[in-house]
């Protein structure tokens, strides 16, 4: 349905409140994002700080950290994902019901961070999970996490059930579960999910070379 802003504001002036089911639905969803209660490293400490009185994540409706993936909407990957831990993180994501979202919090979850070239650290959770919001920092301040959460809320508020801009969970072609990698002799097998991870070119473009 086409949203006529002019008509809506005219009606509001006359004391008639109009909205759409989609907007109402998204308004409700975006203000009750329940995160999964798990942390991987020092970023988790900042996440805990964000949930306490001083930063108070409950102002955004996300104070309900659920210890079960079955009750969670949001996975905050807070910290270094080691190759040993990565299959469990993917499995937890698979166990979450739709609609579900992923925040990669901190340098390690985004790219491996300072441990990127190490033998035991995953070079970013985005090679196994579809990440909605990346929060840079080492670790990010609680304000940064709140900012990332607000970015996610805006994304949820803009989601449509159908059409070309439909939400991920409304798209039948997008899987809700991703294959769990296995532990190999040196690395995870496969080391990345080629369907969702778009690598940088192996040789850098001409403009970056010197």
């Amino acid at each position: 349905m086409q949203w006529d802003e002019g008509l809506r504001s005219e009606l509001a002036r006359q004391g008639v409140f109009t909205t759409t089911w989609s907007a109402l639905y998204n308004w409700g969803r975006s203000n009750s994002v329940w995160p999964l209660n798990f942390g991987l490293a020092c970023c988790a400490i900042e996440m805990i700080a964000a949930s306490m009185a001083r930063f108070d994540i409950s102002r955004f409706g996300s104070e309900v950290f659920r210890p079960s993936p079955r009750q969670a909407d949001l996975m905050i990957v807070a910290g270094t994902v080691t190759k040993k831990m990565a299959p469990q993180v993917v499995r937890l994501y698979n166990q979450m019901p739709e609609p579900k979202y992923v925040i990669a919090m901190g340098a390690c979850a985004i790219s491996g961070g300072p441990f990127r070239q190490g033998y035991n650290v995953l070079k970013g959770i985005d090679r196994f999970l579809p990440v909605d919001v990346h929060i840079p920092g080492c670790p990010p301040r609680p304000e940064a996490l709140l900012h990332g959460l607000m970015a996610l809320q805006r994304q949820i508020a803009g989601e449509r059930p159908r059409g070309p801009r439909r939400a991920r969970h409304c798209d039948a072609g997008v899987p809700g579960e991703y294959p769990v990698p296995e532990h190999g002799a040196y690395d995870l097998v496969p080391s990345k999910n080629r369907l969702i991870w778009r690598p940088r070119p192996e040789v850098r473009p001409e403009s970056e070379q010197r």
Partner: protein
């Protein structure tokens, strides 16, 4: 705590046949240590824990050291006849140091408030003779740390109740903390490589060198 030489003598008397050696530390800290042979390590550890005037009841730290085989060049002072005059000359002698793995235990006494006593065990080589005695039956706190040394250095602890990898997964190959560990060649682009990573970047990006 008495000096190490005295401890060594008393231990030698308490555990007959044990080869105990004082390993001096020439650095400023002067934290010298005792090295025991793996065959008598458990007996020596029990004496250290139970003897009334030592009572090392707390093993705070277990760690490993990798000594790869090396050619050491050491100066040796010799007296030689040069032009009919006897003189002292310094000549460089090359010595082959065989490779081995070492396990280091830091012991404290909570009751008597002394320590640390540093206890070492050595394996015969780095390839197939990599067994030492586990001291977990003596100090339970050594259990996970001995597993870590096994995981990262490949030292096999005989008598350990549950010797599995602890940091890396089952099925992982090699022992990553060894000096000659070759990590998998899975370099990926990063914008500001430096040091060892720069060398890797040059291998992967021949033009420009990734600097």
């Amino acid at each position: 705590m008495e000096p190490l030489d005295l401890i060594r003598e008393r231990l030698g008397a308490a555990v007959p046949g044990a080869a105990i050696e004082v390993v001096p530390n020439p650095a400023v800290a002067e934290q010298s240590s005792l090295r025991v042979d793996p065959g008598h390590a458990v007996a020596v550890a029990r004496v250290l824990r139970d003897e009334a005037f030592w009572q090392f009841d707390y093993c705070s730290n277990v760690t490993g050291v990798d000594w790869p085989e090396a050619i050491l060049r050491e100066p040796v002072r010799l007296r030689r006849l040069i032009n009919g005059v006897e003189r002292e000359v310094v000549s460089i002698v090359e010595r082959r140091r065989p490779g081995c793995l070492e396990v280091v235990y830091h012991l404290y006494s909570m009751r008597l408030g002394h320590g640390p006593l540093i206890l070492r065990q050595r394996t015969d080589n780095r390839v197939d003779q990599v067994r030492v005695a586990s001291l977990t039956p003596v100090w339970r706190s050594a259990e996970f740390q001995e597993r870590e040394v096994y995981d990262l250095f490949g030292v096999v602890f005989e008598g350990h109740p549950d010797l599995r990898r602890i940091l890396m997964w089952e099925g992982f190959q090699d022992h990553p903390m060894r000096k000659d560990y070759v990590e998998p060649d899975d370099y990926e682009y990063e914008p500001t490589p430096h040091d060892d990573v720069l060398v890797k970047a040059r291998r992967h990006y021949p033009v420009g060198g990734g600097g």
